[in-house]
Symmetry: C2
Subunit: 226 residues, 2 copies
DNA sequence: GAGGAATCGGAAAACCCCATCCACTTCGTC
DNA sequence: GACGAAGTGGATGGGGTTTTCCGATTCCTC
């Protein structure tokens, strides 16, 4: 039984040029996923990396492998966010900051937005981090409910629901009305509060024209010259 | 200047077999769009209709033409909804019922969900109905604000934002957790209220396992045997 | 610096989708 | 019932993506 090679083992046994190309592919994939989401053609990534398509496939036989490697660090940030939220002395402040933060991560990286509403049973490392974050999340909810600031009927599953909703707004508005998601999240946070403070100001609604542009934009897939 | 033929003119001048096939295509498109959204291949529609692909294209030269014909009646229902909401003696009840109703229409028909977050500048009839509904919506908002039950900083653009968010939840959960959208909408409606009644019960959150299944389901495009 | 293995990159096969063309069929009329 | 126009469906070309294959190249060791 061959012991499963750790990522480091695999990397160190590579020839130097292979390792260099591996890094190039990862870097290219990171930026392309960020801009266009996870469904971008593999050829686009290879071209941006300046390597042949075969090189990409040799290193990352499936799209999931590539996604797993690219988002390992993003998932670290995801786990960090819940850790920091738990460290906040004010549970409610920790709760709201956490939600705003990961929703902002979705908005800043279309690939990440896709990632959070998907599940890759084969990408073990990713799923492990997701599980870690989920446990922290349960704890954060408990604290916020104990403090009486989070409504008692709030469910842990309300977060994935919010992330799905947020992803919908982000992909629909795209670049045309980029901060629209903030208003959705603000509304939801007010609703999550046990005693809603209606006094807080909402982020502005998108301009009608910007929204119209976004809705037209969706009808045609942009050529996406790379 | 040739007067634009009305749909009836166009239909009546068709040979009987052509008219029959036209209806078959419309019927097939209606059900396929409903199940799979607007981006389904034209060949799938033709096959389901039992006609050749050329027949489909002759009758509906572009996808937009087909969409326009299929959703003419759905858009009527959309306009009816706002009319009925305006007739409600209780503006707030009319407001909440309206929102729930069109969100339910999205959930019941994936094609319609796509339609509401898109814009087809060339599909005149559709856009005209959308505009009619929008004017009614402005009126509904004014009434609800006047009655003091809708928060003053509510924006007309909050509806498209909600529809985008709802579309995100619906496409992400799919058949695996079909009523999840209700919880999102309930949260948002409580937030829209000027004086939130936290007493109302929320629709149940989705079961974690159902959500998990939904997230896996997304990773692979279903084969969609037709 | 020479040999051999690892690696490279582009070509190409396999697949799917859109949209058009054209030889054949059906309808409706005279 | 025969003719012409309207209509039909499959084949086809053009564009795109995924994935594999293979001759050429680069690296590392001895």
């Amino acid at each position: 039984m061959t012991p499963p090679a750790t990522p480091d083992d695999a990397r160190q046994s590579l020839r130097t040029d292979a390792e260099r190309n591996r890094e190039r592919v990862l870097s290219a994939a990171r930026s392309v996923f960020c801009e266009q989401g996870l469904e971008v053609p593999m050829t686009v990534i290879a071209r941006r990396a300046g390597v042949g398509i075969a090189t990409l496939y040799r290193r990352f036989p499936t799209r999931e492998d590539l996604i797993g490697a690219v988002f390992a660090d993003r998932m670290d940030a995801y786990v960090d966010a819940i850790t920091e939220a738990l460290a906040d002395p004010d549970p409610w402040h920790g709760f709201t900051t956490y939600i705003e933060r990961i929703c902002a991560m979705q908005a800043a990286d279309r690939g990440f937005a896709d990632l959070l509403t998907l599940t890759f049973p084969t990408a073990k490392a990713l799923e492990a981090k997701r599980t870690t974050a989920y446990h922290g999340w349960l704890e954060l909810i408990a604290h916020a409910k104990d403090s009486g600031q989070l409504r008692p009927d709030f469910s842990p599953e309300d977060l994935p629901v919010l992330l799905m909703a947020n992803a919908g707004v982000i992909t629909a508005t795209g670049d045309a009305a980029r901060d629209t998601w903030r208003r959705l999240v603000a509304y939801m946070l007010q609703s999550y509060a046990a005693n809603p403070a209606r006094s807080e100001e909402l982020p502005p609604a998108p301009a009608p024209r910007a929204l119209y542009r976004a809705m037209i934009r969706l009808t045609r897939t942009p050529p996406s010259r790379d």
